[in-house]
């Protein structure tokens, strides 16, 4: 998402005594808010119908695994793709640069749903027309839906993150690169030792937001029959006709995921102090 909040890094907070760390939590309005949240939570737990939950736990667990697997793999692969996409747009030769810019524009400019559709029903159905492919060892995988979901999510993440990386690569202060060159580093070494780590660090603050967006994009794979967490929850809703309880569970899980993610990335960020 936004490729700008690359400003002030979060510095590691000095360790405070426990009391000092607790103090901000004990401010009156925070106590009120915590109380409200607790009350809402108790009301949700006691007043609503959760009898379905135990029966569906295994399925929800499985859905969560699918969601996490898709998320982690597509973010990892998409990030790996985003690096060259971003770098090429900053320094690459003109044709490569246009290619990368075009790719990012098209993917970011069209809905993910559509891309999923074209890749699964278009590309996928195309494969099915060739007897050679149907006969090969690949077919058991190609007839599944998840490879297409993974591919589409990866391309999408690569395009959005590629845009972020473009900003990050362009934003590494020239002087740091010149210093490396002035010491006789070859181009690849400059990239590997200075440019790349600095750009990644600059991109970190927005990464959490990007991954959360990706998390929220994964449910679309249900349209190509991949049963992720969201699809399981949908199924629960259809089976139980409970309108809200399953959704609340979904929100709780997503909140936990994005909260953990934010914390992990802040921690990562704090491990390397930035120069600015």
């Amino acid at each position: 998402m936004p490729d700008i909040d690359i400003d002030t890094p979060i510095r590691p907070a000095p360790a405070l005594p426990l009391r000092a760390r607790l103090a901000p939590l004990l401010m009156p309005h925070r106590l009120v808010m915590a109380g409200l949240a607790l009350a809402a939570l108790t009301a949700i737990i006691t007043q609503m119908d959760w009898s379905w939950l135990p029966g569906y736990l295994p399925k929800i667990g499985h859905g969560l695994l699918v969601t996490l697997a898709l998320l982690v793999s597509s973010v990892a692969a998409g990030f790996a793709l985003a690096l060259p996409l971003g770098a090429v747009q900053v320094t690459g030769p003109a044709p490569l640069r246009w290619l990368a810019t075009g790719f990012c524009t098209v993917i970011r400019g069209t809905p993910l749903l559509l891309q999923l559709w074209l890749i699964y029903y278009g590309l996928g159905a195309l494969f099915a027309q060739f007897p050679e492919i149907r006969g090969s060892w690949l077919w058991p995988y190609l007839r599944q839906a998840w490879p297409y979901g993974f591919l589409t999510l990866t391309l999408s993440f690569a395009a959005y993150q590629g845009e972020v990386m473009r900003g990050a690569f362009a934003g590494v202060p020239r002087g740091e690169l010149e210093a490396a060159r002035a010491f006789g580093m070859p181009r690849m070494m400059v990239f590997r030792r200075v440019w790349f780590p600095r750009a990644v660090h600059r991109a970190l603050p927005t990464l959490a937001g990007e991954i959360i967006l990706q998390l929220k994009a994964t449910p679309l794979v249900a349209t190509i029959t991949v049963t992720d967490l969201y699809a399981v929850i949908t199924r629960v809703r259809q089976a139980t006709y409970l309108t809200y309880e399953p959704l609340l569970l979904l929100i709780a899980i997503y909140l936990c995921l994005s909260g953990t993610l934010t914390l992990v990335l802040r921690w990562l960020e704090a491990r390397v102090p930035s120069g600015s």
Partner: protein
């Protein structure tokens, strides 16, 4: 190689930025052990000249040789030059140490990491050896106890000394300084100038762009006055500061005093 081989030699260097001619034929020789101070008004081309020496800017015309080895250049389509041999370029650059005006330390590495980076990665020195050498050098500039700090946590003067240590660790044939003190406050200026003075006393080859005239007079063996992309006057410091010939230089020295 004998002592007569110049450490840095520039012959008729020209540099254009688009239509603007910034350097208009500069020739300069620094023998081993020379300390050359480059002075001149803002925009006169001092930084550009310095950056040409290690090809951070490619000259439009002219020749530059480091310790007798000239950069291999080839003409570009638009009438300029470009380095022809990337390996040679890297080899020569590794022999020059540049200390930038704003330090340009690598913020993602500690002080020690910054200092061993080039020896380990470029010169292929074993890590242990590089660390031992880095510690010596850091000790020399008075940064020994800061080796695990990141640049962002250093004061300006400490950053500057770290930048110098980074250069010293590669034992360069010549060191290039671009206004090493202009970003510092007056008390830190003294600190940094002292380190450079020590280096000069060790007879290291240095070319330094500076605005500190008193300092230039003190440490330089040779002073070069640039004006509008030309060397208007050069000579030993006593002559440049004591008995300037060119009216421009006279005025420059007056305006600064």
């Amino acid at each position: 190689m004998n002592d007569a081989t110049p450490a840095v030699e520039i012959r008729d260097l020209h540099k254009h930025f688009g239509r603007l001619e910034v350097l208009k034929g500069i020739s300069l020789t620094a023998r081993p052990g020379d300390v050359v101070a480059v002075i001149g008004g803002s925009g006169s081309g001092k930084s550009t000249m310095l950056r040409c020496i290690n090809m951070l800017e490619t000259p439009s015309a002219g020749e530059i040789a480091i310790h007798g080895e000239a950069y291999a250049m080839r003409p570009t389509r638009d009438g300029g030059l470009e380095p022809a041999d990337r390996r040679q370029l890297q080899r020569i650059r590794a022999q020059l140490g540049m200390v930038f005006q704003n330090f340009n330390l690598w913020p993602h590495r500690t002080v020690l990491g910054n200092v061993i980076e080039v020896p380990v990665q470029v010169l292929g020195m074993p890590r242990d050896e590089a660390v031992a050498r880095a510690r010596q050098v850091l000790d020399r500039v008075g940064l020994a106890e800061k080796e695990d700090a990141y640049p962002a946590h250093l004061s300006g003067g400490q950053q500057q000394r770290c930048a110098i240590a980074r250069v010293l660790a590669v034992e360069p044939l010549a060191m290039l300084f671009d206004e090493p003190t202009s970003a510092l406050d007056p008390e830190l200026v003294g600190e940094v100038l002292n380190v450079i003075r020590d280096l000069a006393a060790e007879k290291r080859t240095m070319i330094l762009v500076t605005h500190e005239m008193g300092f230039a007079r003190d440490v330089a063996s040779h002073v070069v006055y640039l004006k509008d992309g030309r060397i208007e006057e050069q000579g030993p410091p006593e002559q440049i500061f004591g008995d300037p010939r060119s009216p421009h230089l006279q005025q420059f020295i007056r305006s600064i005093a």
